[in-house]
């Protein structure tokens, strides 16, 4: 079976990028309000890449990251993954908890819970925009968190795509706070089949 994502037109890619842009913009605003800091955001990257290359986006399969993972339910099931380098996650927790920068060096259950809540809020903001755009009702699951190697965490998402093909469509945005160097990557990875639903909903299905 041919992989549908390898045959996307430029218009379709642009439309997806715009969705990513609005969704991530919403998320960045939410995050900015939450930690009371300015957030810079990159223009979303739409990449269609071999599954094995996805970990390179965040610094290679062995990079130490914290991942908050949510499933998206509704007519276009997808996965959302918010990945932060470990140090950024610590820094973010310090901001949220009103602690001095550098205080956190490991995550206790309270910190994990705070990061999951961030994932929740970011995903909610993102999906709101996406739902508005597509008129599809998209709901996030409760979040789950893991701190480990990027490759291992990405496995979870990529396995589902692996059932269908050898490439992933990744809509990815990088966030950074202005001064504190907190960085994060936000991934939306539609399940196989969901992409068509999304494209149809925004009227760019061929």
């Amino acid at each position: 079976m041919s992989e549908e994502i390898l045959n996307l037109s430029l218009i379709q890619l642009d439309a997806l990028k715009e969705i990513g842009n609005v969704g991530a913009g919403n998320s960045a605003t939410a995050l900015s309000q939450l930690i009371n800091r300015k957030i810079d955001m990159t223009v979303p990257q739409i990449a269609i890449m071999p599954l094995g290359d996805v970990p390179d986006v965040v610094g290679g399969p062995e990079a130490m990251v914290v991942g908050v993972f949510l499933r998206v339910y509704g007519p276009a099931p997808s996965s959302i993954l918010f990945l932060l380098p470990r140090e950024s996650a610590f820094s973010l927790v310090d901001m949220l908890m009103g602690r001095e920068q550098g205080y956190t060096t490991s995550l206790d259950s309270m910190d994990e819970s705070a990061l999951m809540e961030i994932g929740n809020i970011l995903a909610g903001a993102y999906l709101n925009a996406l739902s508005h755009f597509t008129k599809l009702t998209l709901l996030p699951s409760i979040p789950a968190l893991a701190m480990d190697m990027a490759g291992a965490i990405l496995n979870v998402v990529l396995v589902q795509l692996g059932e269908m093909g050898d490439h992933a469509l990744v809509i990815e945005t990088e966030f950074a706070t202005e001064n504190d160097g907190v960085k994060g990557h936000f991934f939306l990875i539609p399940d196989p089949g969901s992409l068509n639903t999304i494209l149809a909903a925004i009227g760019v299905k061929e």
Binding site: G67, D148, M149, A150, G151, A152, N155, V156, L158, G162
Partner: protein
Amino acid sequence: MSELIKVGMADYKTGRFPSSLISYGLGSCVGIALYDGVTKIGGLSHIMLPDSTQARSADNPAKFANTALPIMLDEMIKMGALRSRITAKIAGGAQMFTFANATDIMRVGQRNAEAVRLLLKKMDIKIIADDTGGNYGRTVELKLDTGIYLVRTIDKGEKEL
């Protein structure tokens, strides 16, 4: 030349002493190391899914346990390894995220490990070390001089299998 040969996700590589084979950041994937201690020929397979017959696209045989292992074994035998001497060590198959209502896809690590065990038994290859399960990632390295299978983790240290 001593060389560290990288094995990506959904890929396999074979090699002989003095090279080593390494695969980074396995989560639910399983790393299967096959080794013939006399010729010092080995293979490392990094599979994502248990079974190609249940997948809708099976273009890449290295992605599935049932298709990757026979190919890798053949390649090792062509290089001069003796089938009856080849043993297996396996690692990986973790469940990285815990959800209250874990669906099948969430338990893919466990399914992968079970499928690999069953398959190796069918192929009549003895598993002499097994480090699967848990909720953490692993980097695995097969040292082709000794057949030692090195499993590296972030929080659980390093293990020689």
